[in-house]
Symmetry: C2
Subunit: 338 residues, 2 copies
């Protein structure tokens, strides 16, 4: 199928996770059961704390990519369930570790596992889940899958450290920001998707195509995530906004507003993000500025570009409900409001 | 060799790491080079922070067990070097995560990576090293080794969480304390040693023997560690003592002093460890009490018992410089002052 037609298909596709969720309902149910089973431990705090975050009802986007890409490649076995659970455990461990706070961050009153149980239990339970992820992969027995996910885990940690380095630094470039989100977010989406081709012993070209699909989808997902943190509409709906702003994170909406802003605006961004000197009304002003400078629209446009690239990466695969569901999921990643 | 004779051999063995260090000098040098090589990253903070702890010059006891047990089994290849480095990376990651502090712990002014760089970078660099450990194992290609070390990592995390649960709880039993140190410490020593038999495809009996060797050695090591934290002699030498006391950790010296103490002493332990209400002179009093109640001597006696059991576990292996060096290392674990 020519690329132009594929873009039309993508453009016509309704951004939604629903087709993928419907297609994978049985598999997802098994993944969820396995997750609950494998987070058990005689040490009661572990399932308690893990349950708070694992059963907390995320979208299960990453494991769905493993399941969906395996199906796209015609997989009919059982192994994708355990590997999808491993992917979700790695994601959960990084969430727990990402929420570690230093004393200076205590102003944040979020309902994270770390806030409820303290940093240390959250870190250790993250380690437990990370180890469980590797136990699941070892039981599966594919060294190739182990290679892909151990490599991805190292890259995620690098991305998280890079993000710390850029936090509060208004001289951060767009290229640096992109490197951060490619590593901390897109890498796991890429690995989760690639596994589908590994399971079915597809060619390296098909592996690479699924990697590109996941990588672009993950980038789109993170861009929208960063955009939603400044969304006036989210704020109106009573949803949580401004977490990144309070942390001094240099995300694309901020970088764009900074480069397009006037001197007075740059003074505002430096005070609030570099010095973390934030006063009542500052978040509202930040939301207003990213909107006024077109940074929300531009971030969303770029996210849609990555979503389209994700869809295009699936061109080598045969059309069918699996591919259509994955294309709709990519469109969702670039065009979602939650 | 009859067990009685083996005990005599062990009793005659001078407690020392030197024979093992001499025997493994070349291998250890290669492990150290590999460690430095594999902790590199384009993200500069990672090698900086990792170098602080990895190159900080620990005893490299765990990787030495992998190297030494491989040699004991007659191994002459290269694989033990990478696996020893993986074992040290797992240990380093747990150290970094073990030092995570909550805001309430800031009274501790230790020169940990966490104190210098903050919790979050230390946690993320720990994740990076943990991932690197798995990358090294995957490159080695043994699913059995991956199984042993992923399982050990989960058990370590369980042990660390168990320890949190007993901290500040003066009702902790000796059995609970033993379960904690078996999991958080001895498990990795057992896994590190067992790998030697896996590399050389020895029988499951020999694998189990090396597991028992490492497990008993690790238990002895942790008992002495917990004893040294209350050592008056260490305090005189200007070395760090009292870290566990300040944390409210329920270690064997405390449990013994508690059960052997009078009512007034129990009030003291409850105030200092349960309520963490510690005043000037309290650490000195704690050191005096564990000494007076014979808790130091008893802890040391038990450590020597585990060290002897470690040595006995090597009975199935042929006598030679390797076995003698490992026996001396076991004796050292139960009778060291650093």
């Amino acid at each position: 199928m020519p690329v132009a037609n594929f873009d039309q298909l993508h453009a016509a596709s309704k951004p939604s996770l629903d087709p993928l969720v419907r297609l994978l309902a049985g598999d997802l149910e098994r993944v969820n059961r396995l997750i609950v089973e494998r987070m058990q431990s005689p040490v009661a705090l572990i399932p308690q704390l893990a349950g708070h975050i694992v059963a907390g009802g995320g979208k299960r986007l990453r494991p769905m990519l493993t399941l969906g890409c395996a199906r796209l490649c015609g997989y009919h076995g059982d192994r994708h369930v355990a590997l999808a659970a491993a992917v979700e455990f790695i994601h959960t461990a990084t969430l727990l570790h990402d929420d570690v706070v230093d004393a200076s961050d205590l102003r944040r009153g979020r309902d994270t596992a770390n806030a409820v149980w303290g940093n240390k239990p959250a870190v250790l339970v993250g380690d437990f889940l990370f180890s469980r992820a590797f136990e699941l992969m070892v039981a599966d027995g594919s060294l190739r899958v182990l290679e892909i996910l151990s490599r991805a885990s190292a890259v995620i940690a690098e991305g998280e450290v890079m993000q710390l380095m850029t936090t509060g630094n208004t001289a951060t470039t767009e290229a640096e920001y992109l490197a951060v989100i490619q590593s901390k977010t897109a890498e796991l989406f890429a690995a989760a998707s690639r596994i589908g081709a590994v399971l079915t012993r597809r060619s390296i070209h098909e592996e690479e195509a699924l990697d590109q699909f996941g990588r672009n989808l993950g980038t789109a997902f993170q861009l929208v995530d960063d955009m939603l943190d400044f969304s006036a509409r989210e704020a109106e709906l009573g949803k949580s906004v401004g977490d990144d702003f309070r942390d001094g994170k240099m995300t694309l909406p901020v970088l764009l507003a900074l480069s397009r802003g006037n001197d007075e605006e740059r003074v505002f961004w430096r005070r609030t993000l570099e010095e973390l000197d934030q006063r009542p009304g500052d978040l509202e002003r930040a939301i207003e500025l990213v909107e006024r400078r077109g940074a929300i629209a531009e971030t969303l446009m770029r996210a849609r570009g990555y979503a389209a690239a994700a869809a295009r990466a699936l061109a080598p695969f045969a059309d069918g409900p699996e591919r259509r569901a994955l294309v709709a999921a990519a469109a969702f990643a670039g065009d979602r409001s939650f």
